[in-house]
């Protein structure tokens, strides 16, 4: 679609408070281009400020999860994945295409389809509202359907394809409520839908709009609103911002961080954009060929990456501020080697 749909960031947007005193020296070098709003949300998230979102008790425990695609000789897409996700924590899942990160995420609420099959391991959900833990892999039928959106919600990649183009936003948000909250009447559904839109920063007047009337960023906000409808304790976000440009991406990320702080859900955030993941995650798991090769805090991963693959991933992003000379040399010497081969 070539029609420009994304509105500009309003100049008075708090996230982009301009510095009126532009000087001649490099603004980045002086460290003035850090993002104050994002910083605040991270800071409060991390240091246990008001209503610290990261709590010590776990929301999800994954142990030795194995998922195999039963085609040909079988593809072992996820091998012995284990991690504990704490309440309110953002866990980043990084790795290149085909490394199994989406398969792993789908396995967490049994969204994988044949020929994919879980061959071993366990996924345990520690419900905030119930005393007993839930063995997710044992769920089936209506229990599984009830579990899926109300406890663990998903935001899929590419809002263009996940919203139904012929139904209005109101109908699609209402669908979630009709299915999971059958006792709600029409008026209540509408009120809740409007409330959700407002929560993600979309004007409630847009409730009767169709997906094609919204910009890419707004569609992704609607997807997030839909995921929030039942107040889930865990959100799985599969490349939610990959199709968006950097300015809109940053707005969406800030929205996710704010909502996490207000509502206290945990997030599994899947992307191959490691710099972005570093900025928003508490901890990051790096996956390679179905295995989690490194799992650590964002800080440790950035300053002291252990696995060679993590180092390689980190090294594949040119830095905005780094010395251009270094990069161009590295890039061109690599190209020269290729050329002379």
């Amino acid at each position: 679609m070539s029609t420009p749909m994304t509105g500009p960031v309003p100049p008075d947007h708090p996230a982009h408070d301009p510095d009126p005193n532009v000087e001649t020296a490099s603004a980045i070098a002086r460290g003035e281009l850090g993002d104050p709003a994002l910083q605040d949300s991270l800071e409060q998230g991390r240091t246990g400020g008001d209503g610290s979102p990261v709590l010590e008790d776990p929301v999800l425990t994954v142990k030795d999860l194995n998922i195999v695609y039963e085609v040909g000789k079988g593809v072992h897409a996820v091998q012995d994945a284990s991690f504990v996700l704490r309440r309110g924590e953002i866990l980043g899942l990084a790795g290149e295409s085909g490394c199994g990160k989406t398969t792993l995420a789908y396995g967490l609420n049994q969204l994988h389809r044949p020929p994919a099959r879980i061959t071993g391991g366990s996924v345990t959900f520690h419900d905030r509202d119930a005393a007993a833990d839930v063995d997710v892999l044992a769920l089936e039928g209506s229990a599984l359907r009830a579990f899926r959106w109300s406890k663990v919600a998903m935001v899929f990649q590419g809002a263009m394809n996940s919203l139904n183009p012929v139904l209005s936003i109101r109908t699609q948000l209402g669908d979630v409520l009709t299915t999971h909250r059958p006792q709600m009447d029409r008026g209540e559904r509408r009120r809740r839908s409007e409330e959700l839109l407002e929560l993600v920063g979309v004007d409630r007047g847009r409730i009767d709009a169709y997906p094609h009337e919204l910009s890419g960023g707004m569609r992704q906000r609607v997807m997030i609103a839909m995921a929030l409808a039942l107040d889930p304790q865990l959100m799985i976000m599969d490349e939610p911002t990959t199709a968006l440009d950097v300015v809109v991406q940053r707005e969406i990320l800030q929205e996710v961080l704010r909502l996490r702080r207000e509502l206290g859900f945990a997030v599994v955030f899947i992307t191959h954009d490691l710099p972005m993941l570093l900025e928003i995650s508490d901890r990051i798991a790096v996956m390679k060929q179905g295995r989690i090769v490194e799992l650590d805090t964002a800080e440790n991963l950035y300053f002291a990456p252990q696995h060679p693959y993590t180092r390689r991933l980190l090294g594949s992003f040119p830095s905005l501020t780094g010395d251009a000379g270094d990069f161009v040399r590295a890039g061109f010497s690599g190209a020269d080697q290729e050329a002379t081969r």
């Binding site: 603004a27 460290g31 300015v247 940053r250 490691l274 570093l278 040119p318 830095s319 050329a339």
Partner: protein, 286 residues
């Protein structure tokens, strides 16, 4: 060699919603010059008019007003004159999954432009195709000839698209977000390939992107677009390190960059270490 000059380009689209007709000004008075051996980067948000400019330069769209000249002469817009223009100006599209025809083999994709632009004869066709594939690092070329696009990875497909664009031996290459659909681990490889080809062929290149980091490292000049207008232009390092326009600063703030993030800067201080240079480290280890 050839210089492509664009002067005061305007493009507007008519939008109709019901009985109301409005005009959307996608490009408002943009001028730029693409000269041999230089890369110009066009950066901006979605909908800022970057791709419209690319389409106009590739003559897939007509400008509403403004002139395009090739070495000072107005460019042809139809028939033989257009064919001549396409000898000189070629484009690499964003999505290598959509820009290659799934019914045709890789060889077919490269043969067509070679024959249409008279760069090969039936006799030396195969040889020329292999040569092009080798130049974009698809080797051994013979193993790719009979394959179809779905058998290739995203990076390989984009290399095929680049080989196809190079087949008519253009002097100007327009790359519209050539790596944004690719996996990060192979982006650098494709960009390095473009940079190498540009040097070898002394190409004039327009690199369209919203990634400021690669714009800085792969281009000589950066043009920042906002709502159809160029709000800032200048040498790459100046624009990135010392942005003047408010919108450029917004773009810089929004770009994911742990190296700028106060959280990581503070952590470096706490640990008493400098900010790591992962790129240099990766180079050392390789």
């Amino acid at each position: 060699m050839t210089t492509l000059t664009v002067t005061d380009l305007h493009k507007s689209y008519r939008l109709r919603s019901g009985a109301r007709v409005t005009t959307l000004q996608a490009v408002k008075g943009v001028s730029l010059e693409l000269s041999p051996g230089r890369t110009v980067a066009l950066v901006g948000q979605s909908g800022s008019g970057k791709s419209t400019i690319a389409k106009i330069l590739a003559q897939l769209e007509r400008p509403t007003s403004g002139t395009i000249t090739l070495d000072g002469a107005p460019v042809g817009t139809r028939g033989r004159a257009l064919a001549h223009y396409r000898d000189h100006v070629q484009m690499v599209f964003q999505d290598p999954f959509a820009s290659l025809n799934p019914f045709h083999t890789i060889a077919h994709h490269i043969e067509r432009p070679l024959l249409l632009h008279g760069r090969a004869t039936r006799a030396n066709l195969r040889e020329k195709v292999c040569e092009l594939l080798e130049r974009v690092n698809l080797s051994p070329a013979t193993s790719f000839l009979e394959r179809r696009p779905h058998e290739l990875s995203g990076g390989q497909r984009q290399r095929v698209a680049i080989a196809r664009a190079l087949a008519p031996e253009p002097t100007v290459l327009i790359a519209d977000e050539p790596v944004s659909m690719l996996d990060v681990s192979i982006r650098l490889g494709v960009l390095n390939l473009l940079a190498r080809l540009q040097r070898e062929e002394n190409l004039a290149m327009l690199y369209i992107t919203h990634d400021l980091a690669t714009a800085r490292h792969f281009s000589d000049e950066i043009l920042v677009m906002y709502r159809g207008e160029v709000v800032e232009r200048g040498p790459a390092d100046d624009v990135i390190l010392n942005p003047q326009a408010e919108f450029t600063r917004q773009l810089l703030i929004a770009a994911p960059e742990p190296g700028n993030n106060p959280r990581f800067l503070a952590e470096a201080q706490r640990r008493g270490v400098p900010m790591p240079d992962h790129l240099a480290l990766a180079e050392e280890n390789s």
